[in-house]
Each structure stands twice: as C-alpha cells, then as structure tokens.
C-alpha cells in the first residue's frame, strides 16, 4: 500500500495545488517545502517510509491522511 491522493491535483509553476483540500473545501496551494515533500511521497511512499520521515513531514502527511486528502491504496497503478 502506498500514499495516493484522493483529490484532483495540479503540479504547475513549481507548486502543487490540491482541489478541495482546504479547510472549507477550497483549493490548497502547497508551499515550496510541502511541494517537494508531496512529489517525493505521494504515489511512492509506503507506511514504513512514512514512519522514517522527519516529524514535521510525517505529521503534515498524517494530517492530510486524517482529512481524507490522502489514503493508503494499492501500489499497483
């Protein structure tokens, strides 16, 4: 199982944009650090990999998991 996005995502102009991921269901623009983390984690990271992340990165991804923006899905495409 790996991390996958449950929302439509746009990777453009150096940033990740996640539709519906804001607190009121608006579009969320990730800052440069979070964008880098997203690119390395989403579609790639398994649960062991998540556990190995530094605490700030791990808690950021966990908060997206709790809000249903991310989910554990089958690794097969």
């Amino acid at each position: 199982m790996i991390l996958r996005s449950e929302r439509p995502v746009l990777d453009e102009c150096g940033r990740i944009y996640i539709a519906g991921a804001g607190p009121a269901g608006e579009c969320l623009r990730l800052n440069p650090a979070a964008t880098r983390l997203w690119r390395t984690a989403v579609g790639r990271l398994d649960q062991a990999g998540l556990a190995r992340l530094a605490p700030p990165s791990r808690s950021f991804l966990q908060s997206l998991l709790e809000r249903g923006v991310l989910a554990w899905r089958d690794a097969r495409p």
């Binding site: 944009y17 519906g20 269901g25």
Partner: protein, 559 residues
C-alpha cells in the same frame, strides 16, 4: 462675483479605476474654507472632445478656471483653454499639477491661452489668484504670487519664487469637494479575505511627497519635502466621510506616495484608527528598503488591521534597479515579499517589466523573481504588461533625452515600442501586447466569475457540498491564473532560442491545467463549469466565447 471652476480634463479614454481627483478636491475645499465656492468638473474618463465637454458644461460662464494637468491630459487641457478663451477672453486660465509644474515655462511660452501655471502644491497660489480676481475683476492675473509662473500684460513671462510648502497638513480641510462627472464614481471596496467580506473603503492621504528620488517618479516634480498628518486628523477624516457619505467605511486605502517613511508615525495612525473602530482594516504603499528596515513594526501594524502593502518592487534586474534609482538589490525585493508573507500580509505588486534598455537577461531576472515570490498565482496580471513611462520632470526622462540626443515634446509620452533598444526585448513586448489583446479579457472574466462563485460556495459549504465539477473548476482557476505567466515563459524561451524569430505569437501559447488543453479550450471548459454550478443563467460560456481571439478577429501573428 468670482465664478471659479476646477477641472480635471479628459485624457480621451475611460479609466475603469476612476477615483476623485484628490489634488483638485483639496484645492476646492481649501478655497471654500477661505470663502470661495468653486465648481468641480471631472472629465477624467469622458471620451468626449474637450470643446464638446466645455460647451456642454458651460465652462465659459466661469471667470477663473483651474485645470489639473498630467502628461496625458495636456493636449486636452489646451483645447479646453482655447475654447474657453475664444468665448470668454477675460477668463483667467490657470494650469497646475505635476505635469504643468514640470513644463511651466514651455506652457507659458507656447500656449497663449494660459494665463498662469501654479507649480507644486496648489492651495495657497490658487487662493491668492482667486482673491486678486475678486478684488480686481477683469484685470490681468496678479503678477507676484509665489509658486506661479504668469503671463505679464507686457507679454513677458514671470517665474515667481516657489511657494513655501504647506507644513501643517492637519490644518487643511478634508478633501470633501463634489465634482460634476459624466459617470460618477464606482463604490470603492476592499475584499477582506480573512473575513470573507466585501468592505466599503475610503482613500485617505496622510502625507505629502516622499524623501526618496526614484528616477521615474512624478512625485519628484512637487518637491521631496515629506510632511505628515496626525492620527487624530486621519480619524477625524474617517468620521467626517462616514457621516457625510452615510457609508460605514471599514477599510482605508492610504493613497500616500510613501506611507511608511516614519514607522512610528505609521503606527500612531494605525493605532488611532484601531482605537476609533477596531473593525477597520487598512493598506498602504511603501518602498522595499523602508519595509525591511522597520520590519519590527509589522506585527503591531497587523494587529491594528493592516491587510496588505503595495510594494514598489519595479524590477528584479540589478541594472534596471540602478537606472530607476531604487537603492535596493534584487535580493531585497524578494526578502520584502517573503517578510510580508511570513506575517500573513498580502503584497500588491508595483512592477515595471520593461524599460528602454531592458535585455532578455533582465527579463529572465524578472521571471525568476515572479516564480520565487509566488506571483504566478497573482492577479491582476498587469505586472507582465507594465513598462516605464517617461513622465516630464523626472530624471529618467532626461536620461533618455540625452541618450537619443534630443528632448521629447512638451506633451509627448513616447510609446515604449519606439524606445526599446534590444530587438529580442521588443519581440517579447510585442508578444505580451498580443496576448493581452487576444486572451487577457477572457482570462479576467473567467477568473472573476469563478472566484466569486467558489468563494460563495466555500462560505456556505453546508448548502454547497463539494462536487466533482467544483473540484475540476478549482484547478481550472489555478491554470487560468497561471496562463499569462506561462505564456511569458514560452516567449522568453523562444526569444532566447531565436532572437530574430518570427514564429506566430499563438504558437507560443501555453497549455496549462489538467489534461493540458489549448488555452481557449481551458477557458471555455472553466466557463461551462461555472454555468453548470450556477443556479441562475449567467451566460459565462457565451461571454467567454465572445472574448476569445476567434470571435474578436485577433490575428495569430499579432498583426
């Protein structure tokens, strides 16, 4: 009886951001305070010819007529003056404002219909001229008023010494002076994203001039002596206009040339406003160096309601910043933007994308700054299209006069495409002009409609649960915001690869957004989604279609 008119002349086109001419309003209020009633005419956005406007509003019935003159409006002013003098030769015609100040001697030499030019601040000289006009009706203009350049009865021209600056700005009346206007004034508002509310807003000027010497700035013509109002005076103006206009103003746009010269004064004004009404928010403009130097004040200003700062960034090229005499490095610009963002404050971007000596290297520096500062999401997209304007009386205009070996005409504002020296930069400029004409209106329409819709849905989420259409529209909005910046990227890449290339401009269009659609398809897709999510028929798709190049007949190569 002295009948006085104060006129803001037509510039021949409509300015959608029309606001009251505040300089004339101050003069009108000052004259009234001293017993002279004047009538204000604001033709600033009137497409009518000056003679027709003069006739329609009966300007020949006035015996003292003052015009506020900018570079763009000098020719129109002189047409007004000629019409007026033909019908009422005894009328006294006075020109003032930044452009008249800069070219006062030229005006008096070349324009026989003008009796006097008021230089720099207009309040005292206009009052002196009005007093003389009342005491000696029909007589020539008083020859010795400080701050004026006058035509003498002998035909000679006399340049009187400058008038002293008005030091006590608190003693001035508030600029509460009505203007006859063809179109009225749109309500001034501010959308406070933090509260999700549109607020009625008031523009207040809390200081005059600026102690800096940016080489392009027209404020230089009125002198660099910085003078300030107190917090109590600003609060009293807010209370005055709330009562006079019957509107609960809740945001203040400080329209000062530079609000943040003395940070303690800025804080004093902000604190006074906050104490008067803690719901009031405000914004101001300043320079990057001031902001960085006095960053410690920002938390308190935010606490008092500061929402955004208009920053005179102008350029990210070290060479251009030197020419503009900004006195900062590109890194300072980015640091100032990041400082504001760290404090949760928005940036309003003042930018000059192209000056006559701009190179591709300079444009690349601008591109890197816009990327690093997060400005690919920024609207409006004006910063991509702005260019240096050579206002009379500025050092940069003199620089380019020396460079070309001849002065510009008195009312001439040379078009940037006649000045750009690097052919590759000229091609970038032409491509941006083409994009603006071809696509910007459709981009603006889609963004305005979509963002209003999405904000409403987010505010009332219980009534509007998120749907797949809304999610898709959210990303279309992001892509539409990016489109002009991505086009700029493509143009720069192309000009670098083919400096003398002639690829049609539409071949450089980006394909932003999910699925990489053609730009027109992206905009139409977003428009259809807006219509689908809107209960009432807003016809956004039809209106967008009408704004696209195919409907407007814009050629793909810019011709």
């Amino acid at each position: 009886m002295t009948a006085i008119a104060l006129v803001n002349p037509s510039v021949g086109y409509s300015d959608r951001r029309k606001s009251k001419p505040i300089g004339l309003a101050y003069i009108g209020a000052y004259l009234r305070q001293h017993g002279f009633e004047a009538t204000g005419f604001d033709f600033g956005d009137s497409p009518g010819r000056p003679a027709e406007l003069s006739a329609r509003h009966g300007l020949d019935a006035f015996s003292l007529v003052g015009f506020s003159v900018y570079n763009e409006s000098l020719d129109a002013t002189l047409e007004h003056a000629a019409w007026l003098k033909r019908r009422n030769p005894a009328a006294c015609v006075v020109l003032g404002g930044p452009h008249a100040t800069a070219v006062h001697d030229g005006i008096m030499r070349e324009c026989p219909d003008v009796d006097a030019v008021v230089r720099r601040e207009g309040e005292r000289p206009m009052l002196d001229l009005a007093r003389h006009h009342r005491e000696a009706p029909g007589e020539p203009v008083r020859p010795d008023v400080p701050g004026t350049t006058v035509r003498l009865p002998t035909g000679g021209i006399r340049v009187n010494p400058d008038a002293p600056f008005l030091d006590d700005l608190d003693a001035l009346p508030f600029p509460d002076f009505p203007f006859v206007s063809d179109s009225g004034y749109p309500p001034l508002t501010y959308f406070d994203a933090a509260r999700g509310t549109l607020l009625p807003a008031l523009a207040i000027n809390s200081s005059r001039s600026c102690p800096y010497n940016c080489s392009f700035c027209g404020v230089l013509t009125i002198g660099r002596k910085y003078r300030m109002r107190s917090g109590e005076s600003v609060v009293a103006e807010m209370a005055h206009f709330r009562a006079a206009d019957g509107l609960p103003y809740r945001h203040v746009y400080f329209s000062d040339a530079n609000f943040f010269v003395h940070p303690r004064r800025a804080l004093q004004i902000a604190s006074a406003l906050h104490a008067y009404d803690p719901d009031i928010t405000f914004s101001f403009g300043t320079r990057v160096n001031q902001l960085l130097k006095h960053r410690d004040v920002l938390p308190e200003l935010k606490e008092c309601g500061l929402r955004f700062v208009e920053l005179g960034i102008e350029s990210a090229s070290p060479d251009v910043l030197k020419r503009l005499a900004k006195g900062v490095e590109p890194a300072d610009n980015l640091a100032a933007v990041r400082l504001l963002h760290r404090h949760g404050l928005d940036v309003s971007l003042d930018f000059i994308m192209i000056d006559p000596e701009t190179t591709l290297q300079d444009l690349r520096a601008n591109q890197r700054f816009l990327r690093a500062g997060g400005f690919y999401d920024y609207v409006p997209h004006e910063h991509l299209y702005t260019h240096l304007v050579l206002y009379a009386g500025t050092p940069i205009r003199e620089h380019y006069e020396r460079r070309r070996g001849a002065p510009f005409g008195m009312s001439e504002l040379p078009p940037i495409d006649t000045l750009v020296e690097d052919p590759a930069t000229a091609r970038v400029h032409a491509a941006l002009v083409w994009f603006r004409a071809a696509y910007q209106n459709a981009v603006d329409l889609v963004l305005a409609e979509a963002e209003a819709l999405l904000q409403t849905r987010a505010r009332h989420r219980a009534r509007h649960p998120v749907t797949p259409d809304e999610l898709a529209l959210q990303l279309d909005v992001v892509a539409a915001r990016h489109a002009p910046g991505l086009y700029f990227d493509n143009v720069l890449d192309d000009c670098e690869r083919h400096p003398h290339g002639d690829a049609p401009f539409d071949a450089l269009l980006p394909r932003p957004g999910t699925g990489s659609p053609a730009l027109a398809d992206l905009l139409l897709r977003a428009a259809r989604r807006i219509d689908a999510l809107t209960a009432a028929d807003t016809g956004v798709t039809t209106r967008t279609q009408a704004l696209l190049p195919t409907a407007k007949g814009v050629a793909a190569n810019g011709s």
